[in-house]
């Protein structure tokens, strides 16, 4: 029987002391997790006299927005307007994320729910590719991108990351857990595989979709385009912000401000989508 204390309703097998302990542990580790963020934000609002002071202070004594103003001043006087970099990054990130979601879901659905020749093999090579790491694939990958004439276009940054093994893995695992009865019902009603996919499967795997979007978004947003784009007009946001941040001692303040600004879109997307994940889970499909 669930314990009840006054008007407070606790779940099955829950006690108040247990709840408090859980919260305390999480608060401690949460502080540990947040340490660098607080530090970055604090650094970005410190006036320059306070950044190199001894004894070193963690938080700012006289917070100011001077660093952000200097950052906007620096970015105003660039050869290529700052908005160009931002637009490039936004394009690459949005298009890449959408493509990633569509392509990965489309591929995951047959693998999760259908048996056909080669299904096991195809999935296993994706898992194996997930495990191959290292700088050595960079060179052959560059050759592939060069031969397909994609160098110096935004697609050079987007396309290699669209076939993300992680995306396929994530979507397939979640799709495996969908109740088959719904799919069968749709199939009996005459839906072809694509129809079943779009109308039944995709709405059910929203949490996984959002997780994939979050992951893909932050990976693309933080990517500097690397060696694939060399024309200045096509470069991405992190490139120019890194240049500012590493420009020396006098730029530590604006550098921290730049780092904070780069973090914000990733965080925003996550916060926005996270509540949807939780909300979607409250109304899931077939019960029991």
């Amino acid at each position: 029987m669930p314990k009840q204390q006054g008007g407070r309703h606790l779940g099955v097998n829950r006690s108040l002391a247990g709840d408090i302990l859980v919260f305390a542990v999480l608060a401690c580790f949460g502080a540990f997790m947040l340490l660098p963020f607080i530090y970055a934000i604090a650094q970005s609002v410190k006036p320059i006299e306070e950044i190199f002071v001894f004894p070193p202070r963690f938080l700012a004594n006289h917070p100011t927005t001077e660093n952000y103003r200097m950052l906007s001043h620096l970015t105003d006087s660039l050869w290529i307007p700052f908005s160009r970099y931002a637009a490039n990054s936004i394009f690459v990130t949005v298009v890449g994320t959408l493509l990633n979601l569509i392509v990965a879901s489309m591929a995951a659905f047959p693998l999760a729910k259908y048996k056909f020749p080669g299904s096991g093999f195809l999935f296993n090579i994706v898992v194996m590719a997930l495990l191959f790491t290292g700088p050595v694939t960079a060179l052959p990958q560059y050759i592939v991108v060069a031969k397909t004439q994609l160098i110096n276009t935004p697609w050079a940054v987007i396309l290699p990351t669209v076939a993300l093994p992680l995306g396929l893995f994530l979507m397939k695992n979640f799709m495996t857990q969908i109740n088959d009865a719904m799919l069968e019902a749709a199939r009996i009603d005459g839906a072809g595989i694509f129809r079943v996919f779009v109308s039944i499967c995709m709405p059910l795997v929203k949490p996984a979709s959002f997780t994939l979007v979050i992951f893909s978004f932050q990976s693309l947003w933080n990517s500097t385009g690397g060696a694939y784009v060399y024309e200045e007009e096509l470069k991405l946001l992190p490139t120019i912000l890194n240049q500012i941040a590493t420009a020396g001692m006098s730029r530590v303040g604006p550098g921290a401000a730049a780092a904070v600004l780069m973090m914000i879109p990733s965080f925003l997307i996550f916060v926005l989508l996270q509540s949807r994940i939780i909300e979607t889970m409250a109304f899931s499909g077939i019960k029991g």
């Binding site: 090579i125 495990l131 694939t137 052959p140 592939v144 996919f197 996550f270 916060v271």
Partner: protein
Amino acid sequence: MMSASRKRQRREWSLLSRIIRARGCYAMLAPFYILFFMFIILPILGATFLSFTDFNMLEIPAFVGLENYARLFFDDDVFLIAANNTFIFAVITGPISYFACLIFAWLINELNPKLRAILTFVFYAPSISGMLFVMWGFIFSGDMYGYLNYFLMSLGFINQPVQWLTNSETVLGVVIVVQIWMSLGTSFLSFIAGLQNVDRQLYEAAAVDGVRNRLQELLYVTLPSMGPQLLFGAVMQIGAAFSVSSICMTLAGFPSTDNAALTIVTHIYDYGNVRFEMGYACAVSMVLFVLILSVNHVIQRIITRVADV
């Protein structure tokens, strides 16, 4: 009753007919797999080929057979140090971050939805912060300005600043801490989503059957239902644990003191991008790949026994 030859006909025919019937499936798989082949399989095959050559990235690769591998196994002392460090890394950070993901996801799942949302964000944030781990470099900085040193000195624990990042004894520990900090990523989210997917009725049924506290509930009800997520988390963590490199290079320096923070991937980076011996670097990559594959295989066997996947 069918004659034997008629039966044989039906069996052969059905493979082709199965492929044709499944053409919708193949059509849906096509975009992903074409891109996958072009940008991931081809480069891996290229790297495999290069591992049997001597390639300095400027001239055409010269085929040398197994010489790279022979040199790797018999002649390279630094590789042994790298392998040792990587092994320590993998053994410590792999399980710790995997269980940390699981335990924190489970703890966070216990709270009410608002707190859950905030804390999920707090714990996930480090892994999407890009290069923010350099801030740890400032905290662990080896002079009096470093926050940790200053903190410990003002409390009286130490008298002189500790060279966290350049002392070969402490640098590995620092990198491990930062790696764990950053590793609550996709596995964490996957566990959170999986935990919320568990059927609520199972918990109540378990309570009726005699499960008396949270811990038992976790072991007997939650974990077995989370099989796919556990596997996924394991694959991700193994890959991440074995491929630690950018943290090492940024925080501990490249090369690090006494090679204390040298991992296999930084070793590859060294030979590939610094010394331009791409063939050798590819050979090391192949060895690493085989290593990760085998560890992964073992771990997957273990997990499929814990959870019924």
